[in-house]
Every structure is written in structure tokens, then in C-alpha cells.
Amino acid sequence: MSIVVILLILSGLFFLVGAAIGMVRLPDVFTRAHALGLTDTLGLTLVLFGVACYQGFTLSAVKTVLILVLLCLFNPVITHVGLRAALRTGLQPWTHEEGEGA
């Protein structure tokens, strides 16, 4: 049981670190939204599911799973609304410029 908890939390931390690196390294707000909307949600899901497995079958574990489901719903919604506002206020998406290497 403890091995499963440690594996879930460590894999979740891997995705969270990847999302943080993407938040710093990516060039545009539209590309950074991929790091926040997809990778961060997966990392949070894995870590919270690991904590719920550590608690066993109690009311607190059920509420932790509730937070997990709420975050899976809310995080893409917030990213989508923010990016729609960015696109409608005239922010141009990043494209690859000619003559500049990658």
C-alpha cells in the first residue's frame, strides 16, 4: 500500500516539475497554457489520488477525491476562459520566425 502511495505521488511530482519548467521556458501565453492546463492537472490528480490512497477509506479521502474531480473540471475551464479573453483582445499567437533557428 505504501509503495503504491509513493509511486503515485512521485509520478505526480514529475508532472508538476515538468509543468513548472514549461511555465518558464515556453515562449508565449498560448503555449504556456498547455503547461498549466494539461500537465499541471495531471500532476495534481496523481498527487491528490496518492494522498487519498494514503488515508484509506474515510470521509477525508472521499473529500480529497472530490477536490480532485473539481480541479479536473475547473483547471481547463479557467485556462480556456483566460485564453479566449487573450485572443479576443488581439494578442497574436507565437509563430516560428523565418531565419531564426528553432
Binding site: V29, V81, A85, T89
Partner: protein
């Protein structure tokens, strides 16, 4: 197991500092909005981990649910305001 959760907690705090960098030095306003959302997610995670560490998860988990709901309402309100206002 206690040591493991302390390590996970410290790693999460370090990741929140990375999002704080993006929020302070973001080129546009929407970068700051995304950074705020990331910090809120990390705060929810930190609350759950503190509750696990102190063995009082039943107290901290309710605060986390409230924080998640408040995060959604605040972020959507800011984004809709910026969208209706026009060019920032």
C-alpha cells in the same frame, strides 16, 4: 512516511515560487492570470499535504474545497472583465 511528506511539501513550495516568477515578470496580463492560477493550485495541494502531515485532514480538506471554488470564480471574473473591457 513523515519525512516523505515533508519532502513533497517543500518541493511543492519551490514549484509555487517558480509560478511566482512568471506572475511577477509576465510580459502580458494573461501570463499573470495563468501564474495566479498555478499558485492557487499549489496552495490547494499544500493545504492537503499539511493536513496529511498533521493527521487533521478533515479540517484542512474543507478549506481546500472552498479555495478551489473561490479560485474558479475569481479567475473567470477577471478573465471576463478583461474580455469585455477590450484591449488592455
Amino acid at each position: 512516511m513523515q519525512i516523505f511528506f515533508v519532502a513533497v511539501l517543500l518541493t511543492t513550495v519551490a514549484l509555487a515560487l517558480v509560478y511566482l516568477f512568471r506572475m511577477v515578470f509576465g510580459p502580458t496580463l494573461f501570463d499573470r492570470l495563468l501564474g495566479l492560477n498555478g499558485i492557487s493550485n499549489k496552495a490547494i495541494l499544500i493545504l492537503v499535504l499539511i493536513g496529511t502531515l498533521y493527521e487533521r485532514l478533515d479540517v484542512f480538506v474543507d478549506i481546500s474545497v472552498g479555495y478551489a471554488l473561490l479560485n474558479l470564480v475569481g479567475a473567470v471574473a477577471v478573465a471576463k472583465y478583461l474580455e469585455m473591457k477590450g484591449m488592455p
